[in-house]
């Protein structure tokens, strides 16, 4: 091969120097280069998939497979205690669920918790992010360490902490806040929906605000200082700086944080399970699915609830990505 090239070149130069030579040269290059290149590329691709493949396959196995299985099982009337009576009923389970007020009240409770907690967390998390961003060096480490405690704590532990604080027997909140109208020592927070949801959401907010505030902190760090300085020089008030400079510049971070938290809040389970177990109108969708399949062993119905919950999550994602143009993968997968 190597000997062929100079031979060709010499013949080319001997007859018609300029154009022939260049054309031939080009020809050999395009014929030869891709082959060398593609060997390397192929090796790199192979290595890429050898390294990334196991993680990828496991992720598919632990999620894609179960959801497909759930979709399949949701088409059957199937109770684990009566396996013999398994019967294909098509979308029958979905009809049962969607015509049951329990599903709809669960859906509204879940949506309510999601909207309220995400809004409160956004405000609170933003305040915490600002504090951490501006904090004097001497307290910065202390603040971040403190903030990480709720992040790391087990949700169930948080649920018990809040539950025992408000509980009518072991709590102290009633005696602390007895001066507030509506609160006295006989107030049972967990005996009606409104007050129970209040404590459930308080625990959820306490535990997950640090996460949102860290995402917002990362967004804050990306707002160029010159912009804020320039606004300050132009006489903008603190509020104007926030509204016109800082918030517009970290819109992407805010969107990502809100979407992540909304999807997480929509799956709320632990706090509700511990505090009320779904009583008094606090039942959320995850709990509904759990009760159907794990407690009542109604695999068919439970699977259908699971699938519907999954579709809700997809819908939230779709709306966020299409309507609000949240770019989740782009920022990372761009390379």
């Amino acid at each position: 091969m190597t000997s062929a090239i100079p031979a060709k070149t010499t013949t080319a130069s001997s007859t018609e120097p300029g154009p022939r030579l260049s054309r031939d040269d080009k020809g050999t290059k395009t014929r030869k280069a891709p082959k060398q290149y593609s060997d390397r590329v192929r090796a790199e691709r192979r290595l890429g998939w050898i390294l990334a493949g196991p993680a990828f396959i496991i992720m598919l196995l632990v999620t894609l497979y179960p959801i497909l299985q759930a979709i399949y099982e949701s088409l059957f009337k199937f109770r684990l205690t009566a396996p013999g009576e398994r019967e294909f009923i098509g979308l029958g389970n979905y009809a049962v669920i969607l015509s049951d007020p329990v599903w709809w009240s669960g859906l509204w409770t879940t949506v309510f918790i999601t909207v309220v907690t995400v809004l409160v967390e956004l405000v609170l998390g933003f305040a915490l992010a600002l504090v951490m961003h501006k904090a004097l060096k001497s307290v910065r480490g202390l603040l971040r360490t403190a903030i990480l405690v709720p992040y790391g704590i087990i949700t169930v532990v948080s649920a018990f902490a809040w539950f025992y604080a408000f509980d009518i027997n072991s709590g102290y909140i009633n005696s602390w806040f007895a001066w507030l109208p509506g609160i006295d020592e006989n107030l049972n927070w967990f005996a009606q929906g409104g007050t129970a949801l209040f404590v459930i959401m308080a625990s959820e907010i306490w535990k997950t605000t640090p996460f949102i505030s860290l995402l917002l902190l990362a967004g804050l760090a990306q707002v160029p200082d010159e912009l804020t300085e320039a606004a300050k020089v132009d006489g903008a008030t603190w509020w104007e700086q926030m509204r016109k400079v800082i918030i517009p510049n970290m819109k992407a971070a805010i969107m990502v944080a809100v979407l992540f938290r909304a999807l997480d809040a929509f799956r709320i389970f632990d706090n509700v399970f511990i505090m009320t177990n779904g009583a008094y109108g606090t039942e959320v969708l995850s709990l509904l699915a759990y009760r159907q399949s794990i407690s009542r062993l109604e695999i068919g119905l439970g699977s259908a609830v699971s699938v519907l919950l999954f579709l809700c999550v997809l819908l939230i994602c779709f709306v966020a990505i299409k309507l609000f143009k949240v770019d989740l993968a782009g920022s990372q997968g761009g390379k």
Binding site: G48, F56, V62, A70, Y151, L214
Partner: protein, 282 residues
């Protein structure tokens, strides 16, 4: 000048105290409860009555009659979480290296899949797994929890590590390759030492997530053979059926919070950088 800086300092002291109260109050609350005796629980006070503070709740779960329940749960939690973290971090390290460093088709697919898995409603996975695990005998076993835990720990590990790996000066690897190292050797000798802090941070974050799990824990276990602490707490019962297990649960809650607080105290900086770089980039 000194006046305004003093004012500034006072302001920051107040803000710091407020944040500390916010972050630590529920922990202190359950800590106080854990030292209350059964008769003191209904006092309506935050702290145990003076002179009535007791360690009997801790004795009950560590050496007393609730010992079998709590210690086996603690062993399950530690074992299962560590193994799930270890597997996830090893697989994610390889995967993130490929994503950050190599050019291969489907790179974006892997990242998108990780993202999709991380927002997947856990309860949707539980129902089919519950059924399947009962059929193939993985129900109520360590492996039966380790496998689904990977759905929690793998995605975040991949994202966090991919972000870490993108910040590594890869010229070092090329330099090693010029010196005659293979791609694998270059990875192992030049990059692993640089990447180790990122891997370690990722492991902490993944461990937090596995340690926190509740849904899998209560759904896929039924006995002390595999039931982790959060699930065991939910099923704790009092010494008698008339006695609420408040004190014992509080004491157990404090014990499982200690490792979290220690990790946070020691690695605050790394955890913050891991969470922020992994999640948002522009």
């Amino acid at each position: 000048m000194t006046n305004s800086s003093t004012k500034n300092k006072v302001l920051w002291a107040i803000v710091t105290v407020l944040v500390l109260i916010y972050a630590l109050f529920p922990v202190l609350s359950i800590l106080a409860t854990s030292f209350k005796s059964p008769s003191d629980l209904t006092s309506g006070k935050f702290l145990p009555s003076s002179g009535a503070a007791t360690t009997s709740n801790y004795e009950q779960i560590l050496v007393g009659d609730a010992q079998g329940l709590f210690l086996s749960a603690l062993r399950n939690s530690i074992g299962i979480s560590l193994i799930a973290t270890f597997i996830a971090v090893v697989l994610a390290t390889l995967c993130a290296y490929a994503i950050a460093r190599l050019d291969f088709p489907g790179k974006k697919l892997v990242l998108t899949t990780a993202l999709a898995v991380s927002i997947f409603p856990v309860i949707s996975i539980v129902t089919p797994l519950f059924n399947l695990w009962r059929t193939i005998g993985l129900y109520d076993t360590w492996l039966g929890l380790i496998i689904p835990y990977l759905s929690l720990t793998l995605p975040i590990s991949i994202w966090t590590l991919a972000a870490f790996f993108r910040q590594i000066p890869w010229e070092l690897e090329q330099a090693a390759q010029v010196d005659g190292a293979t791609t694998w050797q270059a990875f192992r000798k030049a990059i692993v030492p640089l990447a180790a802090p990122g891997v370690f941070t990722t492991a902490i974050i993944a461990f937090f997530i596995a340690w926190n799990d509740f849904v899998y824990g209560i759904s896929l276990t039924s006995t002390e053979a595999a039931r982790p602490v959060p699930a065991a707490l939910a099923f704790f019962t009092g010494a008698s059926q008339f006695e609420a297990p408040t004190g014992a649960i509080s004491a157990a809650a404090i014990i499982v919070t200690i490792p979290i607080v220690l990790l946070v105290l020691l690695f605050q900086r790394q955890i913050v950088s891991g969470l922020t770089s992994g999640a948002v980039k522009g």
